[in-house]
Symmetry: C2
Subunit: 166 residues, 2 copies
DNA sequence: GCAAAGTTTCAATAAATACTGAACCGACAA
DNA sequence: TTGTCGGTTCAGTATTTATTGAAACTTTGC
């Protein structure tokens, strides 16, 4: 397989993976492109490589920066911005966990709290409250487990975890 | 908050959560509806409750069964099928992990293997191979961690994990 | 102040995804 | 054999989501 084919395959697959996880294809592809880029790239280069418009590139690059997966790099003397991806996969996953926790898990926990307040006037209502309580319990546990996970370091994940739970 | 409002809020939020994770809104809503239903429901009842068509209901119920999140229940004497959700959240999460691992992580691992075979003829190619190698290493670790996770029981998650890693 | 180089925004549009509804299938009972 | 009750499928359509491209904005140098 040639380098060119390999790169294309990777970008395409990473894009597909993203889109089945609710991340738009282009955003994932830009991420892939930057992951394997030997140097930081400018918006122009990204547009060129992926055949996308300026607006699209800009918005998705911003989103990647928001997620902490890509950094802006200002080269001295150059007026335009360059972008590099975080290459440490543990950092990548940690940032994704942090963001999704904040954007999805936490709002869900708030909803679960709110709806716990239905009047327990009927048997059905009491059963509803109970189901919600269990989901809440589980979600809280997940929430704090993820917190701990995010605080721990890469080594822990790569090395210790497997032994510990065996 | 009334029971009706609470249920609606839950179904709506669960649907939204699903759609940000690449699961279609209706599928997540049916799941939510079944999670809080005091009894198993027929396709008709689901259609009625969520205001969706027969075809839509049918396809998404099948998908939920595929994922192991919903069971078919045949009531004696009744001709039609009824559906119940798996209520144990740990089982729910486990099944989702199993499915997504199979559908997304494993194919990705295969792609990473394939593209490891690019000719290391240039310096750039060697760098590419190295980046891919690291991603592969990390993904394999994630893969086996998830395997272990799935094999362990609910108690482990709810009870022991937190203490262990502190 | 003005032009050049670059970035951001967003309304219009394209593309992807989900949904509908009608036709079809199979099991059963009369 | 025919009719009924449900389940399944899928082409056409609707809805949602992503993308484009042009205008507006910002920064910098002259």
């Amino acid at each position: 397989m040639t380098l060119k084919e390999g790169k294309e395959r990777f970008i395409q697959s990473w894009g597909a993976l993203g889109s089945s996880w609710g991340i738009n294809r282009t955003m994932a592809q830009i991420h892939a492109l930057l992951l394997i880029a030997p140097e930081s790239l400018s918006a122009e280069e990204i547009m060129e490589e992926l055949q996308i418009s300026r607006g699209n590139a800009n918005m998705n690059i911003r989103a990647l920066i928001d997620w902490g997966l890509v950094y802006k790099e200002l080269k001295p003397g150059e007026r335009k911005e360059f972008f590099v991806a975080e290459k440490d996969m543990w950092e990548v996953v940690k940032n994704i966990i942090i963001q999704r926790k904040k954007r999805e898990l936490e709002p869900m926990l708030r909803v679960l709290d709110e709806i716990s307040s239905v009047d327990p006037e009927s048997e059905e209502a009491r059963e509803f409250i109970e189901v919600i309580r269990e989901i809440k319990l589980f979600s809280n546990k997940a929430d704090s487990t993820l917190d701990t996970l995010v605080k721990s370091d890469s080594n822990w994940f790569v090395g210790t975890f497997m032994k510990m739970i065996k």
